[in-house]
């Protein structure tokens, strides 16, 4: 599939601010499963954009606007070709023995331990008991974890905020894609399975019009012999060619699409607009797939 994505984030400040410094994780990754063929950023007021690759291989952009301003608008336009199959094989051959024999795992310390948003708390232990023992078939178990989270949590944009931790989301049994991903990551890591956070976009099938959508998030588990395998607990789906991967990290904190520091009044309002259009390769999905679509997270 080939997509074109426009992502606009606008901040309106009640009182004008100055010396604002902003860091972006908005550039789709290029890896063996997808290729970003075009990426452009437009910032208002005008700013010179600098970039670097972070330690996860994400391309990060950043800029500063020093004079006073009362609004900030960031628009990115990307074209991405996705190469995953539409119906990927489930990772059912992954076993604990293969994971334990894999020499790469020792480098995944960060994906096996707690991070800012992913905590292994006592409430989490009670919660984790619902998933049973992973046993030998890790791929089957991870898939079941995804099903269970999807079934036992409700999608609720009012239940949580961008700062909600796993503990809080579990207590409420509700959240948005960011929370679903964090919860699944915490369950996997606590079971000794390397897990990382992915931010990106999901294509909504038939609704091909420009609309008020936002970023999506899911998780990846390291499951030899497959390597990193994506799971979307929000939609209870395996990651396929409808997903565009933007950035990966330990959790939301490593990859938040837009974050910054500025001087001046604290009050601001934000609006996010994502439009994702197909350029090539789209086929009308079966009715079954259509029903499973979930709204996505407001970041």
């Amino acid at each position: 599939m080939e997509y074109t994505i426009a992502h606009q984030t606008t901040y309106y400040y009640a009182d004008s601010v100055n010396e604002s410094y902003t860091v972006l994780h908005l550039q789709p990754r290029s890896d063996p499963h997808q290729f970003c063929t075009k990426f452009a950023i437009d910032v208002t007021p005008h700013a010179r954009i600098n970039s670097y690759a972070d330690r996860f291989g994400n391309d990060v952009q950043h800029f500063a606007i020093l004079p006073p301003h009362d609004a900030l608008s960031i628009t990115t336009r990307s074209n991405v070709v996705t190469m995953l199959e539409h119906d990927p094989m489930p990772p059912f051959d992954a076993t604990r023995a293969m994971l334990e024999a894999d020499p790469k795992v020792e480098r995944f310390y960060d994906f096996l331990h707690e991070s800012s948003f992913v905590r292994f708390v006592d409430e989490g232990a009670t919660f984790r008991a619902e998933f049973g023992d992973p046993g030998e078939s890790l791929g089957v178990w991870c898939t079941n974890v995804m099903h269970h989270i999807h079934a036992s949590f409700s999608y609720d944009t009012d239940a949580t905020t961008v700062r909600t931790t796993v503990t809080e989301a579990i207590a409420r049994r509700a959240g948005v894609c960011q929370d679903f991903a964090h919860i699944m990551i915490s369950v996997l890591r606590a079971a000794g399975i390397p897990a990382r956070y992915v931010s990106g976009y999901i294509f909504r099938g038939e609704s091909r019009v420009l609309g008020a959508e936002a970023s999506h998030a899911w998780c990846e588990a390291y499951l030899p012999p497959y390597g990193w395998v994506g799971f979307d607990p929000t939609n209870d789906r395996a990651i396929n060619d409808h997903f565009v991967k933007v950035a990966l990290g330990r959790d939301y904190r490593d990859v938040s699409p837009v974050r910054g520091v500025y001087r001046g009044g604290r009050q601001s309002e934000m609006s996010v607009n994502v439009a994702m259009d197909v350029l090539a390769g789209y086929q009308t999905p079966a009715p079954e797939a259509r029903r499973q679509q979930q709204p996505q997270q407001q970041q």
Binding site: E19, Y21, R48, N50, Y52, A64, E106, D110, H113, V261
Partner: protein
């Protein structure tokens, strides 16, 4: 008259002045004679002058967690601690070796991780270090130098052999006391220097400035160097002002700097001035709210990105704390073998690893004979002196260790050497350590400007200023 016969028992430890049979060591003889000639009244009168001078110069430090939050004069003992040229030469080589190895380790853990891949240091230990700074992964720094300034704390065991007690690779302080102590002692007790050729200490600021200029980003021919301080409430603020003044560089706070297009500038009355090198005396966490503690007002927003792109040098580099983590310390001898293919010239103190079940059980069972240290604290905070601590304090540490074993190490109590010290009743032995400062630029330079800290309380083994320590002028003989 000061009694020159051993007035203090030289028991189970090494004394700097008296050898085991009670005779003064040759390099102390002339000093002892001069002090004897001056006599008690004269000495006490001059000591009063010294104290006044130090107070006027503002040689103070702040004790944190003190209810009054007070600034105190750092106590100074006028009897110098003397090191022979041979002793110093050994120390110098040992420190150079150690700093090169720890610097190589820091470079390695942020790049190819060779020492981890070859399993000489456990990965878990590095990744779990609170000061392993992930923003530094794959970031290059000029000349691969991270530890521009270090203070390696040495002690002598009962045989007089120098050992490394701990490494300080972040923002070690204390050099201002070295400079001031020498000034004040020379003024008040010029006679003491008459019989000795003592290496100067006042070239330290110049040598530090040489290093800071050397590590400037490529292409800055006249590098602009500034000293970044957290401000007047920092315990070492006096040192920051003194060093900036003696180096002839600007003393700045975070709000004086601004990052424009990945370049750091100093706001001046003449406009913006480009900054090439920042000698920072602020912890990593406070340097840039965009990447570290986001409520910090001490740092400079955007500094990490300017640093990452090579437009400014920060000294010490960000992330050096992984090298002086007290749980990493026990691997430094291995680092010396691994990176330099040399045998360590300075030994470590034996150290128990609390994350190992067997060792932790030993530590918990023997808290009354061990020293327990928090792996990331410094300045004598967060430590337990087992033999001297009340039982409830030992209980508290037992719980702390069980809860977070990675945060603690334990060592046997080392009987530090004693050095003659002026006390109310005359002259007595008080325990001392030694902090030489190493400067890393072209190579590792160890100026003969070391700090001797002295535990002024009788029998005390803790020399930290926050714990009732003072200092001495340290003479390295030519």
């Amino acid at each position: 008259m000061l009694d020159l016969q051993p007035p203090y028992g030289v028991a189970n430890h090494y004394d700097e002045l008296y050898s085991a049979d009670g005779t003064p060591r040759p390099h102390y003889e002339k000093l002892a004679r001069t002090l004897g000639r001056l006599g008690r009244d004269e000495i006490l009168a001059r000591v009063a002058d010294v104290d006044t001078a130090l107070l006027q110069r503002g040689v103070t430090f702040t004790v944190y967690a003190d209810a009054e939050g007070t600034e105190r004069v750092f106590p100074f003992d006028i009897i110098p601690r003397i090191l022979t040229a041979e002793e110093w030469a050994r120390i110098e080589r040992g420190i150079q070796q150690r700093v090169r190895a720890v610097n190589a380790f820091i470079y390695d853990v942020y790049h190819s991780e060779r020492i981890l891949r070859e399993k000489r240091v456990p990965r878990e230990l590095v990744y779990s270090s609170k000061n392993y700074n992930r923003e530094m992964i794959n970031v290059d720094v000029p000349h691969d130098v991270y530890i521009h300034v270090s203070g390696i704390d040495l002690i002598r065991d009962d045989k007089g052999t120098f050992m490394v007690l701990e490494d300080n690779c972040r923002t070690p302080s204390g050099i201002s006391y070295v400079l001031e102590n020498r000034d004040v002692l020379k003024r008040s007790f010029p006679d003491l220097f008459a019989d000795y050729a003592v290496c100067p200490v006042d070239d330290y600021p110049g040598r530090l400035l040489d290093v800071l200029r050397y590590v400037a980003p490529r292409g800055s021919s006249q590098p602009n160097v500034v000293l970044l301080t957290p401000g007047i409430y920092n315990s070492a603020y006096f040192e920051h002002t003194l060093l900036a003044r003696r180096m002839g560089i600007e003393l700045v706070e975070g709000r004086d700097l601004i990052v424009v297009d990945n370049v750091v500038f100093l706001k001046t009355t003449r406009g913006l001035e480009r900054v090439d090198v920042i000698y920072r005396r602020i912890d990593d966490d406070y340097l840039d709210p965009l990447y570290f503690k986001n409520d910090s007002t001490l740092g400079v927003t955007g500094l990490m990105n300017a640093y990452r792109s090579g437009n400014v040098t920060i000294a010490n580099a960000i992330g050096t704390g992984v090298g002086d983590d007290k749980a990493v310390y026990r691997f430094v001898p291995d680092m010396i073998r691994f990176y330099l293919d040399e045998e360590p010239l300075l030994d470590n103190v034996p150290t128990f690893d609390c994350t190992d079940d067997v060792q932790r059980r030993h530590v918990i069972g023997n808290l009354d004979s061990l020293v327990v240290k928090n792996t990331n604290a410094s300045g004598g905070y967060g430590m337990l002196m087992g033999p001297y601590a009340p039982a409830e304090e030992r209980e508290r540490f037992k719980d702390l260790i069980e809860a977070n074993p990675r945060d603690f190490i334990a060592q046997p109590v080392i009987q530090l050497s004693s050095s003659p010290t002026l006390v109310e009743g005359g002259m007595e032995g008080r325990r001392v350590d030694l902090r030489p400062f190493a400067l890393y630029g072209r190579g590792v330079d160890v100026p003969a400007a070391a700090l001797t800290r002295v535990a002024l309380r009788e029998g005390s083994l803790v020399v930290n200023s926050s714990q009732g320590g003072g200092s001495k002028d340290t003479w390295v003989l030519q």
